[in-house]
Symmetry: C2
Subunit: 366 residues, 2 copies
C-alpha cells in the first residue's frame, strides 16, 4: 500500500517488526497471527514486553528501515516475506524459515524443483570437477541448483548450473562480495540466476550468519548433496538441517584415507543416499510431482497465541523454564494450560528479552 | 576305523562318494541320511541311477582315493567333513556347503570369530595398505581373517593377519601355488594360519573353481568386507554370497571417479555397511556371542529322502522339470507329493546324470 509520497507503510512496518531484536521468525508469525497487521503488532510490543517482565525491545526505527528499502530497490532487488507471494514454499515449510528474504535475479527459478549441492571449500580438484559436472547434468534435467557461493564445491555447483538455473544464498548482504574472488560469479548469478540473502544490504558476513545461510540452502532444496566434506564441517550441518526438514540427504563417497571424504562417508553410514552420478540424485528425489516432501514435525511454536494470559498463567510457565532448553509441548503438558496461553506467555517473555528459542521448538530462559 | 593294513575304510568310502560325478553336497547329505553309512550309499548308487533313467555314474575308484588320502596325509594336511567334527559350523550352515575340505595348519583358528576381507587383484597402493591395516587391527581384536590368496587385496589381508590368525581358501589343491608369487605366503599360512581347499591335491585352479572358493570364503565369515572392487568383479560375487547366507556385507567406499571403487559404492547403495575403520567392522558384526548369525532360508534340498518312489511319482516329478531351474518346493507343491518322495526322485535323476542343482534350492533337467 503506497501513500502519496510513494512509501509502502505495510512493508516498512513489516520490516521494522522483523528487524526488531527479539523478534525471530516464530515470534513474527505469532505476532501477525494475533494482531493481523504489522502496524498493530508493532504497537502491541511495549505492552507485551512489560507483561513479560522486561523493558520493551528497541524496535527498529522507521528511518533506518526506509533507507534499507531504498537501497534494496536501488539495487533492483526485492523482498519476499514468509507465507506470502513468491516466497518459496519448500523453505516456508521449515520451522523458523526466515521472515524476510532479499532476492535479486530471475524469480521464475523459484518455481522449479531444486537440489542443494554443498561441500568443502578446500575440495580436491577431482571433487570440484565432479560437483560442476553433477550440477550441469542436473540442470539439463531441469533441476535448479542451490548453493552458498563459498570457495570450492559451492563455486563449482554454481558454475555448472549458471546456464540451467542456480540459486546462491549468501551469509551477508547481497551487495557484499564474499569470498572476494567470486565477485564476478555473484554478479552473474544476480543477473541470470537468483541471489538470496537474509541479512540487509551492507551486512558483512559473520560466523553466526553461516548456520542461518546453511538452513536456507537446505530448506530450499528437495534434497542436499554433499560433495567432499570433513567431519564437523559446515556442509555436514547443512546435511543435518536437510534431515531435520525431512528432505533427501545425499553424499558422494570417497576413500576413508582422504580426510575430505570422511564427512560424506559418515553421512552415508548414518543413512544418506550414496551418490555416484546425477542419475542417482534424480532417482533419490523422485519423479516430478511424485510424492510430497515429508513435512517436518511442526512444533507448537507455530500455534497461534490468541488468548490473554493471567498472572498465575505467567507464573506457571516461568516456573517450568530454566537455562536448559525444553520443548514447548513439554511446558504445555506440565503446566496444564492451553497451547494458546503458553504461547502468549512465551511471546511476552521473548519480547522482554528473557527467552531464547532453539531448534525443535525448544525454549530456555536467557 | 582302521583295518590291520592301516586303511580307514569309512574315510575312503566317504571320499569315493564325494568325488563321484553327480554327487554334490546336497546329494551327499541325502545319501548319508538315507543309507546311514558311506559304504551302503555307494552300494545303492547303481540302482538309484537306474531308477532315475540313466547309466550309473562312474563312482570314484578306491585306488585313486587311496592315493589322494596318502598324499593329503604326507603333506601333513587332513580332511574335514560337513556335519562332523571340526568342520566350521558357520560354513556348515550354508546351503551346499562343501562335503569335504582339505586343511593344513592351525585348526584352532576355526574356533574363533572370523571376517572375510576380499577385493580387487589390481587394487591401488592405498587400498592394499588399508586392507592390510584393517586385517591387522581386526587380528588384534581377536578376529580371524578369511581371504582367497589372490593378488592385491587378498594378499594384503593375509599379510596383515598372519600373526593374529588367517584362513586362506584356495581354488585349486592346497599344494598348488597360485598365484606363483604367493608361494612363500601360502607356505607360511599352511604353518601359522590355516590353508583350506575343496579340490583334491594336485588340482590346478580353473575358472569354474573360483565361485566355489568365493562361496567358502563368504560362508566362513560372520561378514565379508570388500575393499576396492570394480562392478561385476569376483569380489562382488563373494558379497552376494554373504548376503545369500544372511551374513554382514561391508564395503570400503571410494571416489565415484575411481572405477575400482564403483563396485563397493554400488554395494553400499544396495545396503552394505560403509566401512571406514576396523571399529566399523567390529560394530557391524556385533559383540561376541551377541546374537546368532541369521540363518539363510533352508531349501527343501536338505530334507531327508527316506521313501521309495513309484513310477507314477517319477513321472509326476519329471513332467514338472525342464531346462529352466525351478525351486524344489515348487515341484513339491505342484506335484502334491511328499517332500521325501520328491527328494528321492530328484536324487535318482541326479545320480543318473539328468539333473542339475542350482543356488537357492532350484533344480533343472540337464
Amino acid at each position: 500500500m503506497l501513500d502519496p509520497g510513494g512509501i509502502d507503510h505495510d512493508l516498512i512496518a513489516r520490516l521494522r517488526l522483523i528487524r526488531t531484536p527479539g523478534v525471530g521468525p516464530v515470534t513474527y508469525r505469532q505476532l501477525l497471527a494475533r494482531f493481523s497487521t504489522p502496524e498493530a503488532a508493532l504497537a502491541a510490543i511495549p505492552d507485551l514486553a512489560h507483561r513479560g517482565g522486561g523493558p520493551p525491545p528497541r524496535v527498529a526505527d522507521a528511518a533506518t528501515i526506509n533507507r534499507e528499502v531504498q537501497r534494496v530497490e536501488a539495487m533492483g532487488a526485492r523482498y519476499l516475506f514468509a507465507g506470502r507471494g513468491l516466497y518459496p514454499s519448500l523453505l516456508d515449510a521449515i520451522d523458523g524459515a526466515p521472515a524476510a528474504l532479499i532476492v535479486k535475479g530471475n524469480l521464475a527459478l523459484l518455481e522449479r524443483r531444486s537440489v542443494a549441492i554443498v561441500g568443502a571449500r578446500n575440495a580436491s580438484a577431482a571433487a570440484v570437477r565432479f560437483a560442476r559436472q553433477l550440477a550441469s547434468e542436473l540442470s539439463r534435467a531441469n533441476i535448479v541448483i542451490v548453493s552458498g557461493l563459498a570457495r570450492g564445491i559451492d563455486t563449482a555447483a554454481h558454475q555448472g548450473s549458471l546456464d540451467g538455473g542456480t540459486l546462491a544464498v549468501v551469509a551477508g548482504g547481497i551487495d557484499i562480495f564474499y569470498p572476494p574472488e567470486n565477485e564476478r560469479l555473484q554478479c552473474e548469478i544476480a543477473e541470470r540466476g537468483l541471489l538470496i540473502a537474509e541479512q540487509p544490504p551492507g551486512t558483512e558476513p559473520r560466523a553466526r550468519h553461516f548456520p542461518y545461510r546453511n538452513r536456507i540452502i537446505a530448506g530450499l532444496g528437495l534434497g542436499t548433496v554433499v560433495v567432499e566434506a570433513a567431519p564437523k564441517s559446515g556442509s555436514l550441518i547443512s546435511a543435518r538441517y536437510a534431515t531435520e526438514f525431512g528432505r533427501e540427504v545425499m553424499a558422494v563417497p570417497g576413500s576413508p584415507l582422504d580426510p575430505r571424504a570422511q564427512g560424506c562417508n559418515l553421512l552415508i553410514r548414518e543413512g544418506a543416499t550414496l551418490i555416484q552420478s546425477a542419475d542417482d540424485i534424480l532417482e533419490a528425489i523422485g519423479p516430478i510431482g511424485g510424492g510430497l516432501v515429508a513435512q517436518p514435525l511442526r512444533s507448537y511454536g507455530a500455534e497461534r497465541p490468541s488468548a490473554d494470559a493471567s498472572d498465575s498463567d505467567r507464573a506457571a510457565v516461568t516456573t517450568l523454564l530454566g537455562p536448559v532448553p525444553v520443548p514447548v509441548d513439554e511446558i504445555i503438558r506440565q503446566s496444564g494450560l492451553s497451547p494458546a496461553i503458553v504461547q502468549t506467555v512465551l511471546l511476552e517473555l521473548e519480547l522482554a528479552g528473557r527467552l531464547d528459542r532453539h531448534a525443535g521448538g525448544r525454549v530456555s530462559f536467557i
